[in-house]
C-alpha cells in the first residue's frame, strides 16, 4: 500500500563519486546552514508554498534567529518539508544554476559573520558532519560550503497492516517500521521513524506473541519448500558464466532513478514498466560462482526478484495516482486533487502472479482524532 510515496532527503553528498548519496543531516540546516546556488543566491526564499507562508521566515535575519532558538521567529525556508526542498534543488540544477558536481551549495561556514568562534561551534554541534566531509571529501565545512543533492531516503509505503495489531493480510505475519505502510501518510516528518519503531514495534511484538500463543503452527507444504530451495540455488547451476547479478542491480538502480525518481511523468513511469519486464527476464539468467557461504554475489541474485517487485509496485502505484501529493510529484499532474485524497493505492498479487492495482477508501477519522486536528489548526 502507498508504494508511490518514496521520500527523497534533500541533502546527500554528491561528491566524490564514491560517497554519492551519503546523508548530510538536517541538523546542518537546523544550526543555521543555508542553501545557495551557483550564483550565491538563497533560492529557497524564491518558492515558499502558500500553505507554509505563515510559518516561514521571509528574510534572512528572521531565519537565522529561528535557528538560534528564538521562539518568536519563523523557520527559514531551508527547513520546509523534505519533498519541497528536494524539488527546489532539482529545479536549480536542471536550470543550470547547480554546483560543479551536480548539486547545490549547503553552507554552514557563513555563520562566522554572525557568531564568534564559529569554527569551534560547528565542530561541537556537528562533529560527525565535520569529520565526514574532512575525511571523505577533503572539505573543511567550517571554511567552505558543501555540495549536496537529493538522495533516496525512506519508503512511506509498505506492507498493509491493521492499525491496532500491526498484522498484515497474511494471518500471523506482522510488520512495523519502514516495511509497514500507513503511519506516515504521503510524507514522513523528521524524527518520526524512531518513534514509529518504539511504539508500533512494541505493539507488533505484543500482538505477535498473543497470536503465537493462541494459534497452532501452520502446516508447511513440502513441495513449496522444495520449489523455493530450487529457485534459490538456480544461480549456482548457471555459474559465473551467467548474467552478473551486480550488473542487473546497477541498471535497475539507474533506471528507477531516471524514470521513477523525484519528478515523475506518465510516459516515464510507463517506460519503467517495460524496462522492469526486460530486467526480470535477465534476472532469470543471473548466475554466480563459489559456494553458499557468505557469498555476496548470491545474496544479490536472491535480492533481485524482490527489488524488481518493489520497483514495479512503485511504478504502478505512481501511475495510478494522477496528482501530486507529499513525496509523490508528477510534472504532468502538479496539483493535489481531493478525490485522490480519499483512497490509498493497494497492490496485490493476482491469480496468475501478476500485479493488481486497486483503490482502497481511507476510513473516516475517529472523532477523538478529528478533535485533536481541529484543536491544532
Amino acid at each position: 500500500m502507498d508504494m508511490e510515496f518514496v521520500q527523497f532527503h534533500p541533502t546527500g553528498m554528491v561528491w566524490p563519486p564514491s560517497v554519492r548519496g551519503i546523508l548530510v543531516t538536517e541538523g546542518v540546516r537546523g544550526e543555521g546552514g543555508v542553501l545557495r546556488n551557483q550564483l550565491g543566491r538563497r533560492f529557497m526564499f524564491d518558492d515558499i508554498p502558500e500553505a507554509y507562508k505563515r510559518q516561514t521566515a521571509d528574510n534572512e535575519d528572521e531565519g537565522w534567529l529561528y535557528t538560534q532558538g528564538d521562539k518568536n521567529a519563523r523557520r527559514p525556508p531551508e527547513l520546509l518539508t523534505r519533498d519541497h526542498v528536494a524539488r527546489c534543488i532539482v529545479r536549480e540544477i536542471k536550470q543550470g544554476r547547480g554546483s560543479p558536481h551536480g548539486g547545490v551549495y549547503l553552507d554552514i561556514a557563513w555563520i562566522k559573520e554572525r557568531v564568534p568562534h564559529a569554527a569551534e561551534l560547528i565542530k561541537k554541534k556537528l562533529p560527525s558532519m565535520y569529520h565526514q566531509f574532512k575525511q571523505l571529501a577533503d572539505i573543511d565545512i567550517t571554511k567552505e560550503p558543501m555540495e549536496v543533492g537529493p538522495t533516496t531516503h525512506y519508503v512511506m509505503g509498505g506492507v498493509r497492516v491493521d492499525g491496532d495489531t500491526q498484522m498484515s493480510s497474511v494471518p500471523g505475519m506482522f510488520a512495523a517500521g519502514e516495511c509497514a505502510a500507513g503511519l506516515h501518510g504521503a510524507n514522513r516528518l523528521g524524527g518520526n521513524s524512531l518513534s514509529d519503531l518504539l511504539v508500533f514495534g512494541k505493539r507488533a511484538g505484543a500482538h505477535a506473541a498473543v497470536f503465537a500463543k493462541t494459534h497452532d503452527a501452520g502446516r508447511v507444504n513440502p513441495s513449496q519448500v522444495e520449489e523455493a530451495a530450487r529457485s534459490a540455488l538456480a544461480p549456482f547451476e548457471r555459474g559465473d558464466t551467467g548474467e552478473s547479478p551486480y550488473q542487473v542491480q546497477m541498471e535497475l538502480q539507474e533506471h528507477m532513478q531516471d524514470l521513477v525518481g523525484i519528478v515523475r511523468t506518465e510516459i516515464e513511469m510507463a517506460r519503467a514498466l517495460d524496462v522492469l519486464a526486460d530486467l526480470r527476464q535477465r534476472t532469470a539468467r543471473v548466475g554466480v560462482g563459489g559456494n553458499r557461504e557468505y557469498n555476496n554475489g548470491w545474496h544479490t541474485a536472491l535480492d533481485l526478484p524482490n527489488l524488481l517487485t518493489v520497483s514495479e509496485a512503485v511504478a504502478r502505484a505512481g501511475l495510478e495516482r494522477r496528482e501530486s501529493r507529499g513525496a509523490h510529484f508528477r510534472e504532468d499532474c502538479p496539483e493535489k486533487v481531493d478525490l485522490f485524497g480519499r483512497f490509498n493505492v493497494v497492490v496485490r498479487k493476482g491469480r496468475d502472479g501478476e500485479m493488481v492495482i486497486s483503490r482502497q477508501p481511507i476510513p473516516e477519522m475517529p472523532p477523538q482524532l478529528k478533535r485533536v486536528v481541529e484543536e491544532n489548526k
Binding site: 561528491w15 566524490p16 563519486p17 564514491s18 560517497v19 551519503i22 546523508l23 560527525s128 569529520h131 565526514q132 575525511q135 571523505l136 571529501a137 559465473d240 552478473s244 547479478p245 551486480y246 550488473q247 546497477m250 554466480v288 560462482g289 563459489g290 559456494n291 557461504e293 557468505y294 557469498n295 555476496n296 554475489g297 548470491w298
Partner: protein, 246 residues
C-alpha cells in the same frame, strides 16, 4: 589502475589473489573492493553497510594496518605498489574478508550494566554537571568496529580471549564507571575476570581508533588507577586483614 592483493579463503586456509581496479577521484578502498567483486570475483565476501564510517562493519587490514575500508582513501596509499587487503586476525575467519566477531558480543554481556542512583528530584529526574558528562561523551563515540581488539597483542598474539576483554570493553566499562549517575562497582571484575592487568599501555588501540577515542589515556589508565587504589593501596590492604574483602 591499482593492483590489489586480496586474501581469499575460509577457516580451513587460503591465499592472496591478485586483482586490478580502475581508480577515479575520491575513491576509497571499499569502492575498489566492490568494483573487483562486481567485475572479477562475484563471490568475494565482504561485510559493509553505511560507507561513511558510522557502522563499523568494514574493518580489515589494509597494507598491514587495521582500518575501515570505507574511510581509507586510495590517494592516501602508495600508488606504485600492490595494496594488500586481508581480514582481521584476532577473530575466527568466516570467509575472505569477513570474520566472526560474536566473541565481542558475549564479552559485552558479562559487563555489569548501568545502575543509576535513585532520582534526585521528586519527579523522577536527575541533575548532572556538564563537566561530568563531557568526560564520558568521548567513549560514546565508539562504533564497535573492533579494530582496537584486532590490534591488541593480548588478543592478537596471545589469544587470551577468555581472560581479557580488550580495549573496546575497557572503553565501555569506563563509560559506565565514570557516568555521573552510575553507582555500580566494576573494579573487582576488571582485575579478576577481565584482565586489565595484561594491558601494558602500548597505545596501539588508540592509534587505530577511527573515532579518535583516547582509549589508553582516558579509559584504560583511569580504570587501572581505580584497581590499584582498591586492591594495592598498603593502608587499605592492612584494613582488609581486619575486615574481609568483598
Amino acid at each position: 589502475m591499482a593492483m590489489f592483493r586480496i586474501w581469499r579463503g575460509s577457516a580451513a586456509g587460503g591465499e592472496f589473489h591478485d586483482y586490478t581496479a580502475e581508480i577515479s577521484e575520491g575513491m576509497v578502498v571499499l569502492d575498489a573492493i566492490h568494483q573487483i567483486q562486481a567485475l572479477h570475483a562475484n563471490d568475494l565476501a565482504v561485510r559493509w553497510n553505511c560507507k561513511a564510517g558510522k557502522c563499523g562493519s568494514c574493518s580489515a587490514e589494509i597494507n598491514g594496518s587495521p582500518r575501515l575500508m570505507c574511510m581509507t582513501r586510495m590517494n592516501a596509499l602508495p600508488a606504485d605498489e600492490p595494496i594488500t587487503v586481508e581480514p582481521m586476525k584476532s577473530f575466527p575467519l568466516i570467509k575472505d574478508l569477513v570474520t566472526d566477531v560474536s566473541w565481542n558480543f558475549r564479552v559485552k554481556k558479562a559487563i555489569k550494566p548501568f545502575k543509576p542512583r535513585p532520582p534526585d528530584a521528586a519527579d523522577g529526574t536527575w541533575r548532572m554537571a556538564q563537566q561530568d558528562i563531557d568526560r564520558v561523551q568521548e567513549f560514546r563515540k565508539c562504533i564497535e568496529c573492533f579494530l582496537c581488539q584486532d590490534v591488541c597483542h593480548v588478543l592478537r598474539e596471545h589469544h587470551l580471549h577468555e581472560e581479557f576483554i580488550g580495549p573496546r570493553f575497557f572503553v565501555h566499562a569506563a563509560a559506565l564507571e565514570m557516568h555521573p549517575l552510575d553507582v555500580e562497582n566494576r573494579t573487582a571484575d576488571l582485575k579478576k575476570t577481565q584482565g586489565i592487568g595484561y594491558c601494558n599501555i602500548t597505545k596501539c588501540c588508540t592509534n587505530v581508533c577511527p573515532e579518535s577515542i583516547t582509549i589508553t589515556d582516558n579509559a584504560i589508565i583511569p580504570l587501572k588507577e581505580r584497581v590499584v587504589d582498591e586492591f594495592y593501596d598498603p593502608i587499605k590492604k592492612l584494613l582488609r586483614v581486619f575486615r574481609p574483602a568483598r
